[in-house]
Symmetry: C2
Subunit: 285 residues, 2 copies
Amino acid sequence: MIVDVSKKILIVGLGLLGGSYAKALRRFGFHISAVTLEQSSIDYALREHIIDEGTTELDVNMIGEADLVIFALYPHVFVDWIEKNQGLLKSGALITDVTGIKRSIVYRIQDMLRPDVEFIAAHPMAGREVSGVENSTDKMFIGANYIVTPTEKNTPEAIQTCMELGRLLGFSNVTTLSPEEHDEMIGFLSQLTHCIAVTLMVCNDKENMEKFTGDSFRDLTRIARINDLMWSELFVDNKDILLEQMNLFIDKFIELKTMLEAEDIAGMRAMMRHSTERRALFDKQ
Amino acid sequence: MIVDVSKKILIVGLGLLGGSYAKALRRFGFHISAVTLEQSSIDYALREHIIDEGTTELDVNMIGEADLVIFALYPHVFVDWIEKNQGLLKSGALITDVTGIKRSIVYRIQDMLRPDVEFIAAHPMAGREVSGVENSTDKMFIGANYIVTPTEKNTPEAIQTCMELGRLLGFSNVTTLSPEEHDEMIGFLSQLTHCIAVTLMVCNDKENMEKFTGDSFRDLTRIARINDLMWSELFVDNKDILLEQMNLFIDKFIELKTMLEAEDIAGMRAMMRHSTERRALFDKQ
């Protein structure tokens, strides 16, 4: 479906990600419309020619004409929207999302959705420490991962279309995982990482440290500038897995601390060599 | 003293840092010699014209002629060198170092040193994830901090000379701290940060995660590629302070975990806002 540029795309939620999607898809000539909360976001997007039309209202025609609807909303806002407004969607429409957790969203949406509309979930693993459509850029998809999380309810066609969307957006790696696998991966790679950065940033309030810091501390706390509303929701939605990952981290950290207490140089060196070896796998290809 | 380019500089230990010092100081026309373990390092440095002469031996003339000696060695190797070879130093010479911890080094060296030689300690807060003179570059000093850690035994002239050395090397910020203040700062900003990166890298050995990772995880683990010999020694040399910082981190991390368990969204958001606010202080100016 996607390759046919006569199809209409609607983006619900025109923020950093929604705007970046619009910018990326614009290049192919799709008709792009947007529904979002703030008129200023619509004004910006129209001025920059990244959408064809946009509104802050529930525009029945705009929603009813869209063949592909991309929801770039907070998890609970997405669920609310579907509950209240799914009647407005076009019959045969395909809907997708950008939500950072999957188990708690995908099954709920698929269970409540009209049978003539299909939801195929996806997580674009890209972001910035700023928000809003004004900061959107399709460059953030370069080198990044796009994960499609199909379930048994999804058709092969929808999965293919969603993977093609990821490639059109410019993601370097497009893959599939089950919602469960996705949440486990994200619990470790992204959520635990944010928990650590936030903790490091607030655990020592000594003054004037910024004058003496090097790149290491800056790297570890870049993501400590965090959207508290969104991330607290994502953490709670993936609570069981995130708690498990936090415990794994605490156990290892205490293991290192115990070795330091005992001045167990050989033990610390073994852990560091393991770390060095594993880190090599994560170099950008 | 430093501004007088007729003075001779000797670098003991021609690795990543020693080589980078040579490259930076070379631009001003100083006579630079080097004593190091490997002949290949000397060969490289001579070929690249970053030193005037070099040797793997304890060359009595070379050491005895140097007005400024820079020790770029592991902490215990530096202490051993001074114990064994300080008799070779020129009367009136100034010596400095690059050691990443200070309390355990500065007083020991100053206490054992001949009265006609002065040791002024410094910590260039710059590094790379690679080692060896072949990877040296004076570019790594741009935007970085150079911390001089004088004691009561130091003369104002030596402190000034060492600060001037930091500026000549190209460091963006040159400051002084007491050895105690330095070790507390470094225990948090650098050592704790490395402990966290190493722990994160080894706490979950699930396969294939590199296929799904984003920039956050890469940023937090960049320094998990670590020189295990050097860092285990630095950790033990700053053990009391580092353990204290590790405990501060664990306490806060468990606080966050407890809030997540209780789904205390307000509490998590408050911590994240604190984190966001504090991180702004650490943006590069």
